[in-house]
């Protein structure tokens, strides 16, 4: 039963990520309605995954056009580097038409390759740094509001586990 709930929550989160990748509007309240009941009493990784998605949706909803574009580039960059180490000598072209989340998993794209797909300056990392900071702040704010503790402690804990 627990596995079913976790799988259901994960599938729902990925569907929202897919919508964000397309640039479709995602209402954070919709995420709450669908996923919050499944993760409220769940494990730490489930909670982090929920907060990360909700923060990204909040930024997409309130951010400028440039911020939304940077977020979409970042989603391609992040998901393409799950399960593989980033970086590759040969530069690849990303076709944005009919792009699905499952098409980019494991591609290992660089930020430059992902940025080129959107026709933005591939050397400008500052937009990505700004987005990361904004996302981190939004995650911290939402974590504290929902779970009542600072997220920094959780991050520190995860960082120690990794080390």
């Amino acid at each position: 039963m627990m596995v079913d709930l976790t799988a259901q929550a994960r599938e729902s989160r990925l569907a929202f990520w897919a919508a964000l990748l397309r640039g479709a509007p995602v209402d954070p309240l919709e995420i709450d309605r669908e996923i919050l009941p499944l993760v409220i009493d769940s494990s730490q990784p489930e909670r982090v995954a929920f907060i990360l998605l909700r923060a990204a949706a909040a930024i997409a909803q309130s951010g400028s056009e440039a911020t939304v574009r940077t977020l979409r580039i970042a989603i391609i960059y992040w998901f393409s580097n799950t399960s593989v180490s980033p970086g590759n000598d040969e530069e690849r072209e990303v076709d944005l038409s009919a792009l699905q989340l499952r098409d980019i998993i494991g591609l290992g794209l660089t930020w430059r390759e992902a940025a080129l797909a959107f026709g933005v300056n591939p050397r400008d990392y500052s937009a990505y740094q700004r987005l990361l900071r904004k996302l981190r702040d939004e995650c911290a704010r939402q974590w504290e509001a929902l779970f009542g503790e600072p997220m920094e402690q959780v991050m520190e804990g995860m960082s120690v586990e990794r080390d």
Partner: protein, 281 residues
Amino acid sequence: MNETRKQDVFESMLFDTLSYETTPMGGRCTYSAETFIASLAGDLSQSEEDRLSAHLLVCPSCANEYARLERSLRQEEERLLTQARIPSLAERAARKKRNWRLVASVLPVGQYGTRSLLVLVTAALLITLAVIIPLHYLPGRAPAIITADEQMVPKGDSTTAPTTEVVAEFTPESLVDRLDSMAGYEPWRATAFVIGYLRSSGAPLDSAALAFECQTTYTAVGSDTWRTVAQKTLGDADLWPIIILLNHNRTQHGEFPPAGTMLRVPATQDEWKRSVHSRGQ
């Protein structure tokens, strides 16, 4: 933690979380092959496609099934495209050459002249057959339609079919007898019998001008015979068998019915068109 360190830790956590998100896991599958086919055909909405995409990321069995269907579809598409492609002139020439080699391979081995002779003889034979066969089926030889016994098979009984030998000439009496003997058979057989007879006897029948499906009536007068009615209604006395065909149940042994009898006669195509037109109005 300083700002850069915080940023690095957050980015690492982000990658870890998304790797966790895309790790395959078991669960309940609610998707069927129909959904996969709809997706491959582009029939799903964007949000349905997002849901399916998410499921395929975490369900290896569905992902395998989807990949299998996608491969099959691509192969089928490729096959159809290859078949639909018009071969180039060079390909067609090569195919002709292959066909000739095939023909040559079955001919007896010998001098080139022997093969040519065999090909010429075969071609001459085929041309002769092509000329003879159509001649055999020219319209003038039409009575086959009434002489074939097997065409007169009654409904549900194949053992009591009447003999339909060609009759040189009918009288009204013999025709009525023949039509009476065909009662119980499908009506078109009697019609085909009469029309076949008229054609073989050289009557000026233009069945295209007659509308058998639309009939009209004629009231007999004292001096009428089958021939005069045919003359008055169809324009030719020799077409009397048609009048008998439509009225043989109104006569005994071919005698012409008494004056005042309403007889059925086929309408001409012009009459039929006029009738359809007036009904439409």
